[in-house]
Assembly symmetry: C2
Homo-oligomer: 456 residues x 2
């Protein structure tokens, strides 16, 4: 349900809203690089100013690294409470030379806005703030109590959010939580996500000789750390694409028959997918469909590799060190800490004499499965129908939203609405990330409708 | 034989000579990096000025990249002709943070001079120029005709030397060639090198998706180029350390019994070696001794690895590309071009569907075996005995000196003297490269003695 006057207000203000989206996207709030800390703070201030303008009370809370914004709408006695979570930090934009326009100079082309963070998560998060502006602009106040919690550390695993949730547990009490940091199934196929994969992200460092050696003088007698690294990494997976670490699949909950049927019912254009990605063939664990493999099955990927000489020309050395970033996507009920131990032991056992292996966990996220049988879920389904003109489907998503676990754990909150407005090819974490202006518009309408559906 | 007055002259001028060595070592003549081209030219000019000062006639010849110096001493009619080859370019100094003092600010500590190029090859090459200065200073002229050929592209595989040798074939006609770009067996164990390993240096580039992908969205369905790279590189070697490429060892000439005995007769302190390198265990092809493995057997090393994210923190991507530099040390009669084809085919065949492998040869050097039964070899043995106070041993060396192949081929020259003044732990191509001032001194005396022995 979306009152006509609010619907008109949103349509009339779309250009202004888009301009404001471009403002926040211009701030290079890359949380993993310490030199961008002032930019993350700037993004927090921008969000907070927007909320204050609409009658919210709250604060920007400093943490050990990047600040957290917490603000609450004007009290509506007896009305339900919705907690909205979003993040204003972004992934690093590299490789820069693959962007058609600079990552922090938002560019509008063919109905999309292109910038780092366009979809993940600035664009999606902003829909709620603009919905608030529309509802307050027309009605003077919201029909519910809205708490906004926004952080600047999502892309580095939210290291300071946990303590914040514990410290502010009472202020964060709500009937449901809404997060729009995922995607629809397709441009005109809205969805509610009920499962997320977890993550275990490791760094492997192999050290050998105490400095780079001349390969003519020492070739044939010294174990090469780069060779040790590839020997180890090669053994993490089986030739068929499945993961070879003993016990890795032990705790993984398999797919129910109804889920496999639901996934099979959604058309997927394999040729279009291959064309978009630019590969001639897809691959993966045998016995599962593409949708099952990239949303509902655990996976392992090498995210980065380094060692020795990578410059122009040739340098004949045995490198002193080599390393890799390796991460695993997990499904219920795999436990990241247990996976870490399993992989660390596996790697350490494989490490040959003459070199040394060190494995460090960089971060964790538990896999998530959400109860689809709640009042908030009904409200969300109706709101999406009002905003997008279609009933949503239920789907699993292959990525992680670590905050979901924290909210479940520390706020005892099981009623979590994962409502993605983006498209699967928006390219979060990739060059030329984008967000459809049509989705931005429909997302604002859906958020406004959600406030009213929750109030019924 | 070294006349007393010349011997005294050298001793008296040692400080001056060392100061001049520091001058040439201060020039960062890194040939592989185009921004250092002016420095390579500066080094050429420095060498040429030294020769002119001692009565040489010649020129600095431009090439397509770095210049070549060719100069000839004042004619001594009827005397033998010695061609001296050296190079004034150096390897890149990286990693810079492992140098105790900056690579191009020569520092003298404990009787060694520390700088990039100290041993390879500026320091060793300079001994001949200073020997000329001593002999000319005392006698007014050399007892032989000396041709000096010095280049600035040795560390990048001498791409312009071949054409130069062909074009200047007549001017380069000589009775023997001397090159000091190798090392003794130990500080007090001088040696003449009679075998060098060849080299085949390749770059492997694996490409997959057309940009970096979010591993949550695409993990499980897209073949990861970094995984493809490690899967391929792992298969280049057998678990026992031998090379697994079919046919790789086919053309390799095995060791003669006398060579194995000669090698076994030279003491090698394995613990000191391990300690110097900083590893707990040595490794390599089964069935061969350490000296055999690092001088007389073919080897394969990964010289560099790259792909995806290697910065601080975590980035959850499937990289679009990954790559490696891989090189093989070869022995007589392996043919680099044949090895390249073999390895390229092996890698291409291993490359899985969904990614693409490209293999490029970056450079080649044929393995070398030199006849030890020549008049020049006898002169060199006597000169070393005069300069170092000990008879030299005959030894194989694990590195390559590609120019040796070019000289053999284009100058029809088989009488090649590989006379290393350096020590095995001088660290050429490593941080903190150094050259013993005692070896610098003895090298100058030996070079002066060689001119006289050749003239007998």
């Amino acid at each position: 349900m979306l009152p006509d006057m609010i619907s008109s207000y949103i349509s009339d203000h779309l250009d202004v809203f888009t301009g404001e989206l471009a403002q926040i996207l211009s701030i290079p709030s890359v949380s993993t690089l310490s030199e961008h800390a002032p930019d993350v703070l700037r993004a927090a201030q921008w969000v907070f100013d927007q909320l204050k303008k609409n009658g919210f009370n709250g604060r920007i809370y400093p943490t050990e690294r990047h600040p957290i914004v917490l603000a609450r709408s004007a009290e509506v006695s007896g009305a339900p409470v919705l907690l909205l979570y979003g993040h204003y930090d972004v992934q690093p934009p590299e490789p820069l030379d693959e962007w058609q326009t600079p990552p922090f100079a938002p560019d509008i082309r063919d109905g999309f806005i292109y910038a780092r963070g366009a979809s993940d998560d600035k664009g999606q998060f902003l829909t709620y703030i603009k919905a608030v502006e529309a509802v307050v602009g027309v009605s003077g106040k919201l029909p519910i109590n809205l708490i906004v919690l926004a952080e600047g550390e999502e892309e580095i695993g939210s290291p300071n959010l946990e303590k914040f949730l514990i410290d502010h547990r009472e202020e964060l009490r709500a009937d449901a939580v809404a997060i729009s940091d995922s995607s629809k199934i397709g441009p005109d196929m809205p969805a509610i996500t009920y499962a997320l994969r977890g993550l275990s992200y490791l760094q492997v460092d192999i050290s050998g000789p105490r400095f780079d050696l001349h390969s003519g003088v020492f070739g044939g007698i010294v174990y090469n750390p780069a060779q040790a690294l590839v020997d180890i990494l090669q053994k993490l997976k089986n030739p068929d694409g499945s993961i070879a670490i003993p016990g890795f699949y032990e705790d993984a909950v398999g797919l129910a028959q109804w889920e496999r049927e639901e996934m099979a019912a959604v058309p997927i254009d394999i040729d279009a997918l291959k064309n978009y990605v630019g590969v001639s063939e897809l691959t993966g664990e045998p016995g599962y469909s593409v949708t099952e493999r990239n949303t509902a099955r655990p996976t392992l990927d090498i995210n980065g590799l380094w060692g020795g000489f990578s410059g122009e020309g040739a340098k004949t050395i045995i490198p002193a060190r080599a390393g890799a970033k390796v991460s695993m996507r997990l499904v219920a009920n795999q436990v990241p800490q247990r996976i870490d131990q399993m992989v660390s032991r596996f790697i350490t056992d494989l490490c040959p004499t003459g070199v040394h292996a060190e494995v460090r966990g960089l971060y964790h996220a538990d896999p998530v499965l959400i109860n689809r049988d709640t009042r908030a879920m009904v409200a969300a389904q109706r709101a999406i129908e009002a905003g997008f003109g279609k009933k949503p489907r239920f789907k699993r998503e292959g990525g992680s939203i670590p905050v979901v676990n924290l909210i479940k754990k520390h706020l005892d909150q099981e009623s979590i609405l994962l409502l993605g407005w983006g498209n699967p090819d928006d390219g979060p974490h990739s060059p030329n990330e984008r967000f459809s202006l049509d989705d931005f518009h429909r997302g604002i309408r859906t958020a406004a409708a959600l406030f009213h559906e929750m109030a019924r």
